[in-house]
Amino acid sequence: MSEFFREYLIVFFFILLAVAAVGGLIGLSSAIRPNRPSKGKIKNYESGVDPTEGGWSQSQIRYYIFALLFVMFDVEAVFIFPWATVLEELGWFGLVEMVIFIFILALGLGYAWRKGVLKWA
């Protein structure tokens, strides 16, 4: 295995460790916790009132436009990071390029702003 992948192998081990830790603790508590299921107990909690309709009730999701904006800026961040590390070598050229790039994206945010999607109805 190459040195590069070997370095990242520890990520996998940390995931295993976290799973083992959570699984171990929950397993441990299964030894001492009671288990007396009843019909009322497994009902969804709705402040003591009997739950009505399904749990996955319909609600207006206002976030999808934010999710779209998020994707836009997150991809921008992916491009900005490598640029940030080499800015010193690129000098003015790199700076002007990135300012234009950021400006175009800021324009997108400004457009969304003007269209009023950032405002809560």
């Binding site: 070997r6 370095e7 990242y8 520890i10 990520v11 081990f13 940390f14 995931i15 460790l17 976290a18 830790a21 959570v22 603790l25 929950i26 441990l28 508590s29 299964s30 001492i32 916790r33 009671p34 288990n35 107990k41 497994i42 009902k43 969804n44 909690y45 709705e46 402040s47 739950p51 399904g54 749990g55 996955w56 009730s57 609600s59 999701i61 976030y63 934010f66 999710a67 904006l69 998020f70 800026f73 997150d74 961040a77 900005i80 990071f81 590390t85 080499v86 800015l87 010193e88 000098g91 003015w92 700076l95 300012v99 950021i102 994206l105 800021a106 945010l109 950032l118 405002k119 809560w120």
Partner: protein, 348 residues
């Protein structure tokens, strides 16, 4: 690692044992110190006093209490996703700890893309939260989960963009080299305290701090778990140890974000260069593998202190105020900070 020659598997086992220490011990310590004691003193009461001297064993009591709770799955829940959600949250906390440097050599792994990796895995917990909210099939949980997802993606951006300012200054993504850049740094030729980036990147630090507060869903950004309206948000249907996992995940992540903040803005494991000059030791010497962790913990406690101080001081933001603040204030501010830092970097 630390001058010893170890096989890969031996080194890995040591690292995994230490990972427990780094993730869980500070979490317990800060919960006792700040969440139990400090808040009590701020509110003119004593806090837990019964379990152990000054209630210092209260956490063990809480652990015992949670262990004895019945494990309840709500009847309509998606059982697999419901059970898997706490795992995802804890995995995110552990992976976040992976790249924090505690000394010149005292670190789990030295990725070249260190801070980028940290930012990437920090957003994994959003998936866990959304899974928990959805799988519970309860109205409170679903709303809490959606609110959490909306908030976490909104504040993820200022967080990432604030870090860019530091990356521009340091010229690297590697966490060790970011610390190095702060030791070597000079402010107009004066290098006695190095250049902890909080001095030049104070705008970035301000944004970073607020974004971390929101990522951790601490008050004033605790809309997703607002107890007065959503019971406990996405955690409503969880009980016993499964609930505790979310709790541990939240506080462990708080500490590790504080570690990251200390590394990025407060000089990490280093002490100001004039101190090392005074004592006459090399700032990269072996000794810092042992002093470093202490320095880091001190800085971490400082940052977490402010996090909890804010938490217990401010009232809650409304959902629309919260979104507006992220999109209309923090993100434009972070973009401006990048542009200004870039110009300053090229000019000087």
């Amino acid at each position: 690692m630390l001058g010893l020659e170890l096989a890969y598997w031996q080194e890995t086992i040591i690292k995994l044992v230490l990972a427990f220490g780094v993730v869980l011990v500070p979490a317990g310590a800060t919960v006792y110190l700040y969440l139990f004691k400090m808040v009590s003193f701020m509110q003119s009461r004593l806090g837990p006093m019964e379990a152990g001297p000054y209630g210092s064993l209260q956490l063990l009591a809480e652990l015992g209490k949670s262990a004895q709770k019945e494990d309840i799955f709500p009847e309509r829940a998606d059982r697999f996703v419901f059970a898997a959600a706490p795992y995802v949250v804890i995995i995110s906390s552990f992976l976040l700890a992976l790249v924090v440097p505690f000394g010149p050599d005292a670190m789990f792994v030295n990725f070249d893309t260190g801070i980028f990796f940290a930012l990437a895995v920090s957003s994994v917990s959003v998936i866990g939260v959304l899974m928990a909210g959805w799988a519970s099939a309860s109205k409170y949980s679903l709303m809490g989960g959606l609110r959490a997802a909306g908030q976490l993606i909104a504040y993820e951006l200022p967080l990432v963009l604030a870090v860019v300012g530091v990356v521009i200054q340091a010229g690297t993504l590697n966490m060790s080299k970011i610390v190095e850049a702060q030791i070597e740094g000079e402010i107009f030729g004066w290098g006695a305290i190095g250049n902890p980036f909080i001095l030049t990147q104070f705008v970035a630090f301000f944004i970073f701090f607020i974004a971390v507060q929101a990522e951790l869903t601490q008050t004033p950004f605790d809309m997703p778990i607002a107890e007065s309206e959503l019971v406990a948000g996405y955690m409503t249907e969880y009980s016993g140890f499964r609930f505790l996992m979310f709790f541990i995940g939240e506080f462990a992540t708080a500490n590790i974000f504080a570690f990251l903040g200390a590394t990025l803005f407060l000089g990490g494991w280093s002490v100001p260069p004039f101190v090392t000059d005074l004592i006459g030791i090399d700032p990269y010497s072996e000794a810092f593998n042992y002093i470093g962790p202490i320095v880091m913990i001190t800085k971490m406690l400082l940052i977490t202190f402010v996090i909890y101080w804010v938490r217990f001081t401010y009232p809650r933001f409304r959902e629309d105020q919260l979104q507006r603040f992220a999109w209309k204030v923090l993100i434009p501010l972070a973009l401006a900070n990048i542009a200004v830092t870039g110009v300053a970097k090229v000019v000087f």
